[in-house]
């Protein structure tokens, strides 16, 4: 990342090689359309290249990149009119706050982490899992999810929070 800050093309290529797969997987899951997903991924990496100086090196890179990619993909969903505009910010800006790396983050490599996350979320009841997926991949609000699943609002809130806390505990214990 430090090399990228110096506009090193080789560093950019290596970074793309390393992270393009998870970024593309995420964006494709949100947009469900290959060519549009590639346009968004291109946009994300170009933004990374052009604005790398704004990245805070003390923060973990991958969560920041995934947050940027998710925001861009959800913006694209809104542009396509597939859902109402709800998040009014973050159209052009890089994510301003990047999560701190908990101590256990480095302990898991990408593949193990993917397996662990899928296993932990997969062990939830299907409606709870669905609520989390609607929030994360579709960008729906609590009330929109409640309407979509025909469940009480309070139930949806609990499902999402408890599901995320369970994921956190599971990752911490890994």
């Amino acid at each position: 990342m430090q090399q990228l800050l110096r506009r090193d093309v080789g560093a950019f290529e290596e970074l793309y090689q390393r992270h393009s797969r998870i970024v593309y997987s995420l964006v494709l899951r949100i947009l469900r359309q290959g060519s549009t997903a590639e346009e968004v991924v291109q946009d994300v990496f170009l933004q990374l290249w052009r604005n790398s100086a704004r990245y805070d090196l003390s923060r973990p890179f991958i969560p920041w990149l995934l947050t940027l990619a998710r925001n861009r993909a959800l913006d694209q969903l809104r542009l396509k009119g597939e859902r109402q505009r709800r998040r009014e910010e973050q159209t052009e800006e890089l994510p301003q706050i990047v999560s701190a790396a908990p101590e256990y983050e480095e302990a898991l490599d990408a593949q193990r982490r993917a397996e662990r996350v899928r296993s932990l979320i997969g062990s939830l009841p299907s409606a709870q899992k669905k609520a989390i997926e609607l929030a994360y991949f579709e960008g729906l609000s609590h009330s929109e999810i409640a309407a979509s699943l025909k469940e009480p609002l309070g139930t949806v809130k609990s499902w999402i929070r408890n599901g995320l806390l369970r994921l956190k505990e599971g990752l911490q214990s890994s």
Binding site: I121, I160, R161
Partner: protein, 268 residues
């Protein structure tokens, strides 16, 4: 339950962006008040939420995407490197002309020093010629860089329309084109077979009105089958073009196609 506990319960949903507006505004107001504990909890919640990306089914982007991105960043990096040269290549330096002028003046009243002066002037002219050659070289590099930057802008501009060109032969690679209404049209390919000795690939625009092909440009893939052909001023507009087609033609290109299209891609 303390105020902090109340907001802590909302922090994961806030990080995910799933709070409805009233709750979201409450959390934002609380954070704006400078609650350090909640700020820290939010940072951790953002990390946690980002881990949900791993639920997405594994998928691999195309090689074309990587090619496009690398071409763009290389062009931008080259522009950045070239800019300082532009300052240097602004022409023959003033000191050089001043030197020539001074020497010429001196020669008027120093005939006995004529030979030495001629040598010096010749030397200065040689330097001027070398600078001129360097200038031409830099101008060429700048032209190439500007062309690459122009192509990169077409590829990354949201107003550009992507067109995929396919072949009937399943062994042939798919080509892609990007057409910008103002900046022009670029066609690219990877692993493209050579059109054969003394032949070129030629791009055609198929008119929507007449159905006739209009020649756009000719090009060759390199040894690795890679090419990028740009048409800054296409012979017709995007809205009046039905399709793009590529044929193999004799060197120099043809006014009308002499072979069947190898690739075709619908525009509208």
């Amino acid at each position: 339950m303390s105020a902090n506990d109340q907001f802590r319960e909302l922090i994961e949903a806030y990080a995910m962006g799933s709070l409805d507006a009233p709750e979201r505004e409450q959390v934002e107001a609380h954070l704006a008040g400078g609650c350090v504990d909640c700020e820290k909890a939010l940072e951790e919640a953002r990390w946690l939420v980002s881990q949900l990306a791993y639920l997405a089914p594994d998928a691999q982007p195309s090689d074309m995407l990587k090619g496009r991105l690398l071409q763009t960043v290389r062009a931008e990096a080259a522009v950045r490197r070239t800019l300082p040269h532009e300052v240097r290549r602004a022409g023959i330096p003033l000191w050089l002309w001043a030197g020539v002028a001074a020497l010429l003046l001196f020669s008027a009243y120093s005939a006995w020093n004529e030979k030495e002066l001629r040598d010096t002037v010749a030397n200065l002219e040689q330097q001027a010629a070398a600078q001129q050659a360097e200038r031409q070289k830099l101008e060429h590099e700048l032209t190439v860089t500007k062309l690459q930057a122009h192509e990169a802008m077409i590829w990354s501009d949201p107003r550009s329309k992507k067109i995929m060109l396919s072949s009937k032969d399943p062994k042939m690679p798919q080509l892609e084109a990007m057409w910008h209404p103002d900046m022009g049209l670029v066609v690219r390919g990877w692993k493209t077979p050579s059109p054969g000795e003394k032949r070129v690939l030629q791009l055609w625009l198929i008119s929507k009105k007449s159905g006739k092909p209009m020649p756009a440009t000719t090009f060759w893939p390199d040894a690795n089958g890679k090419f990028s052909a740009m048409v800054e001023n296409p012979p017709d507009t995007m809205s009046d073009t039905q399709a793009l087609a590529i044929t193999a033609e004799p060197m120099g290109g043809s006014q009308q196609p002499t072979s069947a299209p190898m690739w075709v891609g619908g525009v509208s």
